[in-house]
């Protein structure tokens, strides 16, 4: 069902946890639907220096969260905004079709976190 990479990120998720001093926080999804992702970012000089996540959801949702927090580290905000559902799925060697829309919320949560950062910065 899931690729080896998904299973790896799901069973050994990277960057789990809260980030009390986050510069931006984005939450996407709804527990009623089964998946919620909360992404925390730390930003310095328009670059994402750290990222963490908390996720309620299925294997795909957790793997996507882990992957997106890995991918964004070191990216500029503009680069990070280019991350999409598709690029996340590709980085995970694919996701089952039915999981593409409901559990692949990483890009949206990330974009919201960047938005949040920008709002906080008054940009």
């Amino acid at each position: 069902m899931y690729s080896a990479k998904v299973m790896d990120h799901f069973t050994n998720p990277r960057n789990v946890g809260e980030m009390p001093d986050a510069d931006g926080i984005g939450t996407e999804g709804n527990p009623v639907c089964g998946d919620v992702m909360k992404i925390y970012i730390k930003v310095s000089d328009d670059k994402i220096t750290d990222a963490k996540f908390q996720t309620f959801g299925c294997g795909a949702a957790i793997a996507v969260s882990s992957m997106v927090t890995e991918m964004v580290k070191g990216l500029t905000l503009d680069e990070a905004l280019k991350i999409t559902k598709a690029s996340l799925a590709e980085a995970l060697d694919g996701l089952p079709p039915q999981k593409m829309h409901c559990s692949n919320l990483g890009a949206d949560a990330l974009h919201k976190a960047i938005e949040d950062y920008k709002v906080k910065q008054g940009k």
């Binding site: 899931y2 299973m7 799901f10 069973t11 998720p13 789990v16 946890g17 939450t27 709804n30 527990p31 009623v32 639907c33 089964g34 998946d35 919620v36 909360k38 996540f53 908390q54 996720t55 309620f56 959801g57 299925c58 294997g59 795909a60 949702a61 957790i62 039915q98 999981k99 829309h101 409901c102 559990s103």
Partner: protein, 398 residues
């Protein structure tokens, strides 16, 4: 890695004796049971012998057994077959909200074909109140179809009480006993049902063999027309090995039922007691009136599929009624029917024990399950509660 199969409600491996009984019918006694030469006659005999033991398992007569290829087929056959056979008497059918999809979706099809259907509610344990059946009756009612035991929450429904009402009013009563036959005593006389569906793979028989019991003299319109197999009520070349396997599995189930029940119940109780020690883990379904090998929970703040996968990584196989674990991406309607809010239903997990489950297995499970809960809660944004949760309805973005 040793694996522990706790999903007996999904399906089961063949009992070795069942496979052995089936093997001669693949290549040696391969004849068509309608043929009048040796391999055909032997196949015919084998089917009739299987019919006897299959009937005996539910205390029916052999001629009251119609073999089908699945429980789903038996349910479709029962509902459509009775509806069509009795539509001149009335066009109202009563089912419950916790029926299997094969009953619910057939009921919906009949609605489209001009029948009226009442979907009865259940209480917080998933139990039907027989009074609700009585209240739902109309002059048009012809059929009541109520599940015997729920595969999702283990609830055993009060069929005997419902049968009293059906008999009083001269109505036909069907029960979907797929999840109960082989797991608890099922006696069509004691239950007082007119039709009953069951499937072999639930009691270590083969996939591809199931049956509909139709009380002697009961009229039913075929679902599958064709030749004169099954007394003209269900056509198609008989799946001889599977039917033979169902017969053998029924024989073993009848012989070992009490022993199987006693064993799994003790282990199941141990599992439940331990699981409930973890905070915010709730039993779903009735504490008492449930299948002896059945334990089902909702675990707050985490999601079912993730639990299944981590359990599987530890060698434990189980099931969930969460949206994400279903291909339809919908939380189990059964959980919703018993009043579990949708976000809690996502934390559904179901463990069903079977003949080969050992005490050691359960000890290992009892150690592992809380670890997995805490690991997933460690990732969850709701680990401290549902505060901050958004709206209560779900529209999947496409």
């Amino acid at each position: 890695m040793k694996t522990i199969y706790l999903d007996h409600v999904a399906t089961n491996p063949l009992h070795p004796e069942v496979l052995e009984a089936m093997l001669p019918y693949f290549r040696e006694l391969y004849g068509n049971p309608l043929s009048i030469y040796e391999p055909g006659l032997k196949a015919r005999e084998a089917i009739e012998k299987a019919r006897e033991s299959t009937a005996a398992l539910i205390n029916a007569k052999p001629k009251e057994i119609i073999f089908t290829a699945s429980g789903a087929e038996a349910n479709n056959f029962a509902l459509k077959g009775i509806a069509y056979a009795n539509q001149n008497k009335g066009k109202h059918i009563i089912v419950s909200k916790i029926e299997h999809h094969s009953v619910l979706n057939t009921a919906r099809f009949l609605e489209k074909s001009g029948f009226a259907v009442t979907y009865l509610p259940v209480d917080k344990y998933g139990l039907i109140n027989p009074e609700d059946v009585e209240k739902a009756l109309t002059k048009e009612t012809i059929l009541i179809s109520i599940i015997h035991a729920s595969p999702e929450i283990g609830a055993i429904e009060p069929i005997v009480e419902i049968s009293r009402i059906a008999k009083q009013k001269g109505l036909i009563l069907h029960t979907d006993a797929v999840a109960s036959v082989g797991n608890i005593p099922v006696d069509v006389q004691a239950l007082g049902v007119d039709l009953l569906s069951f499937t072999a793979h639930q009691f270590y028989g083969p996939k591809g063999a199931a049956a509909l019991y139709v009380r002697e003299g009961g009229r039913i319109v075929p679902l599958i027309y064709g030749g004169i197999q099954e007394g003209g009520r269900r056509a198609g070349t008989e799946n001889v090995p599977a039917i033979v396997g169902m017969g053998k599995a029924a024989e073993l189930a009848k012989r070992d039922l009490q022993k199987r029940m006693d064993r799994v119940k003790v282990l199941r109780d141990k599992l439940i007691t331990n699981a409930l020690k973890t905070e915010k883990v709730l039993l779903t379904g009735p504490p008492e009136k449930r299948l002896p090998g059945h334990a089902s929970f909702v675990v707050e703040y985490i999601e079912g599929e993730a639990m299944l996968l981590l359990l599987a990584a530890k060698g434990i196989y189980s099931a969930s009624g969460s949206a994400c674990s279903s291909k339809a991406l919908k939380a189990s309607p059964v959980l919703i029917s018993i009043g579990i809010p949708a976000h809690l239903a996502q934390g559904s997990v179901v463990f069903t024990l079977g003949e080969e489950t050992t005490e050691e297995d359960i000890n290992y499970f009892n150690e592992t399950f809380p670890q997995i809960i805490s690991r997933l809660r460690g990732i969850s944004p709701y680990a401290k509660g549902w505060e901050g949760m958004e709206g209560s309805s779900c529209t999947v973005q496409k």
